[in-house]
């Protein structure tokens, strides 16, 4: 009996170790890759060796000088699209969640159900229809073509709805009304200051979703100076002889270490958010589905 139990425990430990390697090794490898030369990546026997800072600096220069600072442009584009999308999403989602939670109007339940359905429906399903719509009003190839759809963030509405309906007592708002606040004042002076944590949460989720979005900017913005970082990464894959042999190796500046570095740059903002806000994000994921 005792032996069987240790056996089970050992198997369990082994399984955990395998999965830890599966999840974690790629990240360590990715972080170390830019410190090595392409040659070292192939021929160094220990894949987890640290190269040198000199190599890192070299990769840094190569990747940032690629096609007149293209990477920097993409970073800037991504920042504009995501921040613009986040701001509009908050402006739209917070009052909407407030309205759904604390006012009574006809069709409220239907509206809430529709919000839930579009929240669960994957956003990519709407990309092509959205393109056709945006094309109709001639906004394709402008930043608005991604910012406006980004501002549509039903998950944010649902989160604020949960927050307002579970944490703010209706009596509090009624008291404010008796004291002479009009509806707008009630929202702005009472509800909004109390909702600060949920606004931060919505901002996090919207930012991560917008920053990582690939399909929408890919379809909307065909011009390489307007690429988002994610689409730019694909362009880089196409520009390296490592993954596209039709690119001549002579004169090419993007190799695997550079590509790895660009990937790190692309995920850095989200990774930082993850590291510092892990707890908040996790509680939000659960809040998305339980009403506690």
């Amino acid at each position: 009996m005792l032996r069987r139990r240790t056996g089970l425990r050992l198997t369990g430990l082994l399984v955990l170790l395998v999965f830890t390697a599966f999840f974690f090794v790629p990240i360590v490898w990715l972080l170390l890759a830019p410190t090595k030369t392409d040659h070292q990546l192939v021929f160094l026997s220990n894949p987890f060796a640290f190269g040198s800072f000199h190599n890192l600096a070299h990769a840094w220069h190569a990747v940032f000088n690629f096609q007149n600072d293209a990477l920097l442009t993409w970073v800037k584009n991504s920042a504009i699209y995501s921040v613009g999308g986040v701001v509009l999403a908050i402006v739209a989602a917070v009052p909407a969640g407030y309205g759904l939670a604390l006012t009574k109007f006809i069709g409220r339940r239907t509206l809430l159900a529709v919000t839930l359905v579009v929240m669960i429906m994957p956003a990519t399903a709407l990309v092509l229809p959205l393109f056709l719509e945006i094309n109709l009003v001639k906004l394709t190839d402008t930043p608005w073509s991604v910012i406006l759809p980004f501002s549509f963030f039903p998950f944010g509405v649902y989160l604020t709805y949960i927050f307002f309906s579970s944490t703010i007592p209706a009596d509090l708002l009624a008291a404010a009304r008796i004291d002479g606040c009009n509806e707008w004042d009630v929202f702005r002076r009472i509800a909004l200051p109390l909702a600060r944590p949920v606004v931060a949460l919505v901002a996090f989720f919207a930012f991560v979703a917008d920053w990582n979005n690939f399909f929408l900017p890919f379809v909307m913005l065909p011009d390489s100076t307007k690429y988002s970082l994610q689409v730019g990464l694909e362009y880089l894959v196409n520009s390296t002889p490592a993954f596209n042999p039709s690119v001549p190796a002579v004169g090419a500046t993007i190799f695997r270490p550079e590509l790895a570095l660009a990937t790190i740059v692309a995920v850095a903002p989200v990774l930082i958010v993850f590291l510092f806000a892990q707890r908040t994000l996790v509680s939000g994921m659960l809040a998305g589905a339980t009403k506690e």
């Binding site: 830890t20 990519t124 589905a289």
Partner: protein, 271 residues
Amino acid sequence: MVLLVLFGIAPTGYAIYLALTTRTAHFAGVSNFTNTYNDFRFLPAFKHVAQFMVIWLASQAVFVVGLALMLHTMTRRLSSAFRFLFYLPGALAGAASVLVWLFLLDPSVSPWHFVLSALGYSSLGQSILPAHLPLIFAFVAFWTGAGGWIVVMYGALNNIPHELIEAAELDGAGAFRTALSVKLPLIKKWVVYMLILSFAAGTQLFVEPELVGQASLGLVSQSWSPNQLAYVLAFQNDNFNGAAAISVDLLVLGLLCAAALVFRTKLFEVE
């Protein structure tokens, strides 16, 4: 509210309109649907995604639940360290995750080259053969997504009352038995929730085949997944109506999943 109409309902309506009309805006009935269905790329695209889905959903159901149950028997600090490690790849969603996997699958640079060479692959072309793709995309999706779900399952497990587990232990159930007969049934609805959401997301596969297709030098079709086919139809074959028809197909699939989740399970309270 306005946004919901503008960017949720209006595009849907417009897509349905396009799907039902011809290029010259005549009513076309279901001909766009039948035409795309008869397109030689249509069925393979859906078949690819179905293969991917079977592998991915099965591995998610087994490993996410298994790992969460395992972590739940550990001390709090140890399990939170593991949860964090598993969760981390979630930050590398989208194009970045695919790039990382291109590196991992390239035997010349992969930190797992011994695994690849044990399988007999010596070049990137060999490891991303078209037949391997459903499996590879399942790996990528699992790598980025599983951690988040493990955290959710763990949270659900934590909601199980302590007395219940203690009672099971008093009755002589070992850790294994408790996990299987007591904890698992109690988190079943979360497993269903995960599977439905993943199914809806899985039908939308785009970045993965797009990027791997680029790196495969034409070995992988540009219309590997239904979303890609719609994209190719719209932008290369100039057939917006056909593209709209496929979008509507996918939308209906996504809507069905969403509606099933909202109305059939009691996870989301509307009131």
